[in-house]
Amino acid sequence: MNANVKRPAPALEYLTTKKDELVGWARKFSLFPYPFVTACCGMEFMSVSSTLYDTDRFGAALPRFTPRQSDLLMVVGTVTHKQAPILRKIYEQMCEPKWVMAFGVCATSGGFYQNYAALPGIDKIIPVDIYVPGCPPRPEMVIDGIMRLQDKIAASKHPIINDKF
């Protein structure tokens, strides 16, 4: 087709794919969540982290309460306009690779708070990888969300040395 496109050698592509799979596997099972908890969904977050539903089975147990050490920003609950600069700052303070989960319908779209105070969805200010709707979502839904995020992480590219490998 287009003979001018430079393609890497097939052996290198195989290596890159395998490297991506390995790094993806490692990253997806060692998520360090930063629970940015604001509202009612926080109660379900407590439930999903505890014994009956347990995010520890997925490697996502240990919350890191500093953005510098975490890679999964779980925005749990309504984010208001007053809280928005705080959320943006936390997101910027996290290092790559980072993922964002919008936990609950208020974080996804503002929920049923369509007024002057609530931010209509956190994707207005930060990019979101997985949306878990629900008011609040059942713990099984949250776990489904984490598993889909893990699939997404497993399937994505993970450049570790430079932006090509």
Binding site: C40, T51, F65, Y113, N115, A117, C135
Partner: protein, 405 residues
Amino acid sequence: MSTELPNPIRPAFTEPTDESHVIVNIGPSHPATHGTIQIVTELDAEKVVRTDVHCGYLHRGFEKECESHTWHNLIPYVDRLNYCSALINDFAYCETVETLMGIEVTPRCRYLRTLLSEYARVADHLTCVAASLMELGAMTAFLYLVTIRDYIYEHLADLTGARLTYSYGRIGGLANDLPEGWLERLAEILEQYEEFVGRVHGLMDRNRIFIDRMRDVGVISTADAVNWGYTGPILRSTGVPRDLRKDTPYLAYAELDFEVPVGIKGDNYDRYFVRMREMDESVHMMHQLMKMLPDGPVTVDDRRCVLPKKELVYNEIESLINHFKLIIDGPQVPAGDCYVAHESANGELGFYIVSDGSGTPWKVHCRAPSFVHMGGAHLMLNGYQLADIVPTFGSINMIGGECDR
């Protein structure tokens, strides 16, 4: 983003009173401040000299939202005020509207509301104690208490359809009656509660580290507490047995036999113990109520606010119009205003509603105990150590949804 992010608050002080002091900002995204409170503190090494508490990070415009919904449609908003014990909010609001409309609920509804209010109180106190213990490092106690709380959530999901925010109260009664086998499961859960809470008592009550961290920390006197508007477990921990369920009984509380636990000093340990004992009293009340529950309908047969039965709606034109008007226009509440307060898990939860005679409210104001408690929080934080802010704050049980509305 390279642009500077704006600061949403203006702190009360930016310069320390002494050059050796430091100003440290705690929150609002902080696990101990439950994610929505910012405390600007001035520290002298580890000692807190003064604090400036900022709330409002979860202000979701509850009052403004209520003004554009009908009296029934805003019940989900009311749920999400104190989301840990959402049923108490539902029933307090419904009772306020019922008082203004002049409706008296059926006996079964009264007893059920009392039973469920106490159930919600247990869930709220479990959450508060579990969170504050976890913040001290006692992960085991947290897991025990949250497990029981989860059984309660599943059980309430059997009744209302939702685990956390139920929207179960209706003006004139309740959404539906108890399903089969609900009371048997309740008895089972209360037994497991006794076992688990017994273990937590064994781990915490005489634990040297726990006592050292909580005794004589965050002390508030009765005079200060009353002046700064404290009600609920915090006021009771100072030694006065003020409880709306005993002082001005509502629902079925006048017929129940229960005590009002009080503390001795008004410190964190007392608040922990008052909450643990209150849970035991609530369980005792629930056992009594399970035996006292009368039969009968759970909603009043009042066409002004209760939806007619579906068979009638499909067969009679009057019921069809009634149903239509109730859904579209909302129940017509006579003009006037009304204030009704219930004893929620945090204290006096009051609803002040103003009606202009139509189906949508003119104003629905919630007198939130957490908001008033934040006003006086500095009394319990100043003078103690930086590390004491965490347990003191946890023992105040500030619920963001209620504080900021």
